[in-house]
Amino acid sequence: MGAEHASALEQIGAIARRSIVRTFRQRGLLVFPLLFPLILFAINGSALGAATRIPGFPPVSYRAFALAVPFMQGALFVAVTAGVDLARDIETGFFNRLALTPLRGGALLLGQLGGAFVVACVQAVVYLVVGVASGVGIASGAGGALVLLALSTLIAFGFAGLGTLVALRFGNGEAVQAVFPLFFVSLFLSSMALPRNLIKTPWFHDVATYNPVSYLIEGVRSLIITGWDGQALALGFGFAAALAVISLGASSLAMRSRMART
């Protein structure tokens, strides 16, 4: 069937299949993003155990408190993988050749994110299994675990949109890699390590309060240590959805502009 006759779904499927196959062929790119957050979780979960003795800290182990972090770190790595893959297509000229076909820009964008989406799902399941295996209970139960997977995948999808946006704007993988530290800073300047009410330094508390990443982490964390916290979940899903809509919307515009240039 020619591409001009293929439906949007078929177009997305074809590009997504390629993206998924390519992602899984690059084992180095898969293993590092999967292992790094787990190593940090293992170290910090134990090394920051003393933090549970701070008055006002939630009555849970630090490992349970910290389990939300790997989901966020994994999402950041997904963003880089998605961006670098797309940038490589631009650099090698594959993107230009695709742009000459009747393929729709939206289908190309969503298809390119297929690999990132699958990686995000796999990562989320691995982090959850490792967390539970290390003795962390999910306060919201099995249903909460499913919601956690959905939320973390949505977050990763939103960040992947940022990765593709950078790739489309700059057209090279180095730029995507260079932006990665900024993503990481947003994680460290959040309520990643301590609850916001226990952050003593005023400027840090303010930054963490205005940093949307805090609410993404707190949404995931609430399912693990609190149970069903409507406000935390609404904020978590709200910010994750906003991130996905904004990053994909901006990527879509950037895609249109890049295809026009082609």
């Binding site: 180095g28 590092f32 790094f36 190593i39 940090l40 170290i43 910090n44 134990s46 090394a47 920051l48 155990g49 003393a50 933090a51 003795r53 701070i54 008055p55 180095e174 260079a178 530290p181 800073v185 460290f188 300047l189 990643m192 390590a193 301590l194 226990l198 952050i199 003593k200 330094t201 400027w203 840090f204 963490a208």
Partner: protein
């Protein structure tokens, strides 16, 4: 000897010149330690209220020592990245063919790492002082702290340069960086050793980085502890990783033909 010094000077000059003129190299190596300092000293300062947290100069100074040594280590790691990049671009092969004394290549890169850390370490220290860090240490203690940082930088640089010469590709970045990162974070980063619990405490007790970190904290507090042990371990590590780097150079020489 003159030929050796010529190679050392050329490689070191190129290394530091590339660092200074390339924002993509100098900015991350300055920003990373600062960002860790801000995140740890700012975000985790409440940890100083944990019972039995007994570091007198305060949590900012407690975290400064970690970031100070971390910046020293990453000065070496980033130099390893540069070596790997030189192999990818073909420059290292030309260097191996043209250098009259190849041992000077390692020394040149290591001096480049030290100069690179001279920049980042200074910036980190100035920012910590500007943020109001307490420094009860005397001049002798501060000099010893600086010497500790220099040795830490040398250990990391020899590891990173040696491994980069063995692997000879930029893709080795994670392999160079990861062990350093893990060793650093398996030291008492957030709380003193006696407040660590579980497996991290068991590992931290045996981790050489712990001895360097505890010694650095003692020096900054003006109460030196286990200094000889820390310096001895770092000195031994330098000998070990110098031999490793030398073998890396031999491997690169064989590959270059």
């Amino acid at each position: 000897m003159r030929r050796f010094a010529f190679v050392v000077r050329g490689v070191a000059w190129r290394s530091i010149h590339n660092t200074i003129v390339s924002p993509s190299i100098i900015v991350p190596s300055i920003v990373f330690p600062l960002f860790f300092f801000a995140a740890f000293a700012g975000g985790l300062s409440k940890i100083a209220q944990v019972p039995n947290f007994d570091y007198k100069p305060g949590y900012t100074a407690f975290q400064f020592t970690f970031v100070f040594l971390q910046s020293a280590a990453f000065g070496g790691v980033f130099t390893g990245f540069a070596v790997a990049r030189d192999f990818d671009s073909g420059f290292a092969r030309r260097l191996l063919l043209s250098a009259p004394a190849r041992g000077g290549i390692i020394v040149g890169y290591v001096i480049g790492a030290l100069l690179r850390w001279g920049i980042t370490g200074s910036v980190v220290t100035l920012v910590a002082l500007a943020s109001g860090m307490n420094v009860p240490a005397g001049p002798g203690d501060l000099f010893a702290l600086l010497a500790l940082g220099v040795l830490f930088n040398l250990v990391a640089a020899l590891w990173a340069v040696g491994l980069a010469m063995f692997l000879r590709t930029e893709q080795a970045g994670a392999v160079i960086q990861m062990p350093v990162f893990v060793v650093l974070f398996l030291a008492p980063v957030y709380v003193p050793l006696h407040l660590l619990t579980g497996w991290v405490h068991s590992v931290a007790r045996l981790n050489p980085a712990t001895f360097a970190l505890e010694a650095a904290r003692g020096l900054l507090a003006g109460t030196p502890t286990d200094i000889a042990l820390a310096f001895g371990l770092l000195g031994g590590s330098i000998i070990l990783w110098a031999a490793f780097a030398r073998r890396g150079l031999l491997s690169a020489e064989r590959a270059a033909g």
